[in-house]
């Protein structure tokens, strides 16, 4: 593409794969005219490891820890999604207690994933304090993960037909305390970002995408809700216990990077509220209630599709089973895969210094993009 036309005014800057702005291995080739970006070309695939093909060689149970490793910070939702599609294939509904436990685990995962994103925004905007404060709060969330299921990142918590273990006796106390603490601490970070005119000046009005374009490009998740599409899988296509939860889906019509930032911060507050509701509900369910169903190893023949609201957007798995204990085909729809394909549209016309902040609002995770 560089050979198309020699243009003395413009130059191609290759940002990535070893570049501080690319959180993970990917490349954004940006054509700059001075400081203004005129064109961009995202390139992914450095981490392609044939995840879907690998799954065709494995038992359904063994895919759960593999699904954890799709994305380092959204492992809970990915393994949840896989269990979801397997349950849909088996045509079963998990016990109530497991549903609420999954909701709690999912929302903890969402908070820690958004905090990881906030940390990345901090470094991309050039402030390390945001990074460290956000990571500090994330560490408390990861501690909750450890309490609940024994690992920080690769949780391996959901199972087909329920969850791995009931919550330990101290988890309820720790979780509520941690959430209350977090709600206060998040305001500190909000003070650093939203109350700082420099930060707002950095993200406001850049990376604009209209509502129609956003829907057409398939952008999902907080990036979509920042463009004015009022859609959340948790609310509009509820799974597990989300139908009973009472929460607010923040939507902004501005369509710029700042709106996406605001959506994510508000989502963290709403996640806290969901966790509190779910913990309250869990109190009313007896501790001896079933939380895991016994499921057969083999899944009957058919095609099945499940979707879930990942921290980064709408993730879908499409499973074709052939009656054995291994999937015939398992397709993963990664939200970042589609969002990053729209990055060309997002960065056109912004300044070079804005590329990190615009791309940070996508919240890159290459493990699930390349699969």
């Amino acid at each position: 593409m560089a050979q198309e036309k020699m243009n003395a005014d413009k130059m191609w800057l290759t940002m990535g794969p070893q570049h501080p702005f690319s959180h993970g291995l990917w490349t954004l080739r940006a054509q700059v005219d001075g400081e203004i970006v005129t064109d961009a070309e995202p390139e992914v695939g450095y981490l392609h490891r044939g995840w879907e093909k690998e799954c065709e060689q494995r038992d359904y149970q063994k895919i759960i820890p593999m699904a954890d490793r799709l994305c380092y910070s959204a492992s809970m939702t990915w393994s949840h999604l896989f269990c979801k599609v397997a349950e849909e294939a088996l045509d079963i509904e998990v016990p109530e207690r497991a549903q609420y436990l999954r909701v709690v685990a999912d929302e903890i995962c969402r908070i820690q994933s958004h905090l990881m994103w906030l940390a990345a925004v901090g470094t991309d905007a050039g402030n390390l304090t945001i990074f460290l404060w956000a990571l500090r709060e994330r560490e408390f969330m990861l501690d909750l993960n450890v309490r609940l299921c024994g690992q920080r990142l690769t949780t391996n918590y959901p199972r087909i037909g329920g969850v791995r273990n009931d919550m330990p006796y101290y988890f309820e106390r720790d979780c509520l305390r941690g959430i209350e603490r977090f709600e206060k601490a998040l305001w500190d970070i909000v003070n650093l970002t939203d109350d700082s005119s420099i930060f707002v000046g950095r993200v406001k009005g850049i990376g604009y995408i209209s509502r129609e374009e956003c829907a057409n490009l398939g952008i999902t998740g907080p990036a979509m809700r920042g463009c004015g599409v009022d859609y959340d899988v948790r609310r509009d296509d509820p799974y597990d216990a989300y139908g009973d939860m009472d929460f607010y889906v923040p939507v902004y019509k501005d369509g710029d990077a700042y709106a996406r930032f605001r959506v994510r911060i508000e989502e963290m507050f709403q996640s806290c509220s969901i966790i509190k509701q779910a913990m309250k509900k869990l109190e009313s369910i007896p501790k001896t209630a079933p939380y895991r169903l016994k499921v057969p190893k083999a899944i009957p023949e058919g095609t099945h599709m499940a979707r879930i609201e990942d921290p980064r957007g709408e993730s879908v798995m499409y499973l074709i089973s052939d009656g054995t204990d291994r999937p015939y085909r398992l397709k993963v729809r990664s939200p970042v895969f589609v969002n990053v394909s729209a990055s060309k549209r997002m960065v056109q016309g912004v300044r070079l210094a804005d590329i990190p902040t615009v791309m940070a609002m996508i919240d890159m995770c290459l493990g699930e993009t390349d699969r």
Binding site: L13, T123, N127, T129, L132, I198, R202, L352, A353, I355
Partner: protein
């Protein structure tokens, strides 16, 4: 050891009797009791003392083997003592500047760590030795230079950037007795050297044959041009108020009248912002914005070159803080305690450094609290906010000066 001391005392007595050792053109015997604003130079004095011991030791050792030889007498002659004392003076000034710089690096890392809820450096007492360890580590790295560079500018660019920074730091007087040369255009010269760096950075960025460093170098030039002007206007206010370019005179004026921060409070904050920008620190570190340009203009400088650039950056930070200190906070003068005799006898250097470090806290907090400013915003702020404020500050200064001198504006 008694032989050495005896020998030196004898020689020194001989020399003093002869009265031939010169210090800045004054007789050695005249030094004691001279006005501190005139010529008494503490580093030079230290240099003389050190050479008396060191050169005297060498001369005595030679004298032991070959009694009454010419070399021994040449080593302790007034010419040799004067020359070596000047060399040692530079070494002493640089050493103190270096230690000050290390302290500021330590201060930044520790304070920044506390702001970010971490511990900062942990090696040595209170983590002080971490910087030395880091320096040693950078020093031992391989000296890599890319193939497709413009060699002359690549090497000379970085050498001159570091050299001017270190030179600047040594040119800052720490007290009326701690300077290299007591020249009347002191502040002007410092500003001139300070403004030299962006040109060199631009050249160095171009010479690396790297797109990131090219953009970084150009950004540095852009940034410097927009912030040099308000800084110089502020400087005009200071000079108009005090009536001198000489740093000693500026501080003496502030000591006698009032610290300039009081009439020029606007100018102080403008100067802080400009000083941060001049020393290319967060939030104005556009030339090395690591999010979009990997390391900016330093991308291709590896190993000790990079380490020295970082050191030079801190030297420039020190100079910027010291300039704020000299122009607004009265340098080494302290309001009440400088009435005492012992203050000017022992403490002015210490208080100067302490005050500089205090100004540096603002720099650190700005780095901790604020994200990086975008290129267009930075120029906007420079020309549309700081420039008018600086002019307003100058007008206020002129009005105050007129009222002060003539009792009215008209």
């Amino acid at each position: 050891m008694s032989g050495l001391r005896e020998w030196i005392v004898n020689r020194a007595t001989d020399l003093a009797d002869g009265g031939s050792v010169c210090l800045n053109g004054h007789e050695y015997s005249d030094i004691v009791g001279m006005s501190p604003y005139d010529v008494y130079n503490l580093p030079y004095d230290i240099g003389v003392k050190v050479w008396e011991s060191l050169g005297g030791l060498i001369a005595w050792l030679i004298n032991l083997f070959v009694p009454n030889n010419a070399v021994s007498f040449a080593l302790i002659s007034d010419t040799a003592t004067n020359a070596m004392a000047i060399v040692l003076m530079v070494v002493v000034i640089f050493a103190i500047g270096f230690v000050t710089n290390l302290t500021m690096i330590w201060q930044e890392r520790k304070f920044l760590g506390r702001q970010m809820d971490r511990r900062g450096t942990m090696i040595g007492p209170l983590g002080y030795l971490q910087c030395l360890g880091d320096g040693l580590k950078t020093f031992m790295k391989e000296n890599v230079a890319p193939r497709a560079i413009d060699k002359k500018i690549y090497w000379w660019g970085v050498v001159l950037v570091i050299g001017t920074s270190v030179l600047l730091a040594c040119m800052i007087p720490l007290s009326p007795r701690w300077f290299i040369v007591d020249y009347n255009t002191g502040l002007l010269l410092i500003f001139a050297f300070f403004a030299l760096a962006p040109f060199l950075i631009m050249c160095a960025g171009w010479a690396q044959n790297n797109k990131y460093s090219l953009i970084g170098g150009l950004r540095a030039a852009e940034l410097m041009i927009s912030y040099e002007v308000p800084m110089l206007i502020l400087f005009a206010g200071t000079v108009y108020m005090t009536g001198s370019f000489n740093i000693g005179d500026i501080i003496t004026w502030q000591e006698e009248h009032i610290w300039l921060i009081v009439p020029q409070i606007v100018g102080f904050f403008v100067c802080l912002v400009c000083a941060i920008a001049e020393s290319e620190r967060v939030p104005f570190d556009l030339s090395e914005a690591e999010a979009e340009l990997v390391e900016g203009w330093q991308t291709e400088y590896a190993g000790m070159k990079w380490g020295l650039i970082m050191l030079g950056d801190y030297f420039r930070g020190f100079v910027a803080c010291a300039l704020v200190n000299i122009m607004f906070l009265g340098g080494w003068s302290m309001p009440i305690i400088n009435e005492f005799d012992w203050y000017y006898q022992y403490f002015p250097e210490l208080f100067f450094v302490l005050k500089t470090c205090f100004v540096f806290i603002f720099f650190i907090t700005a780095r901790g609290a604020l994200p990086r400013v975008r290129t267009d915003q930075i120029v906007n702020v420079g020309w549309k906010v700081l420039m008018p404020l600086a002019v307003i500050n100058l007008v206020i200064t002129i009005l105050i000066k007129w009222i002060w001198d003539y009792g009215g504006v008209f």
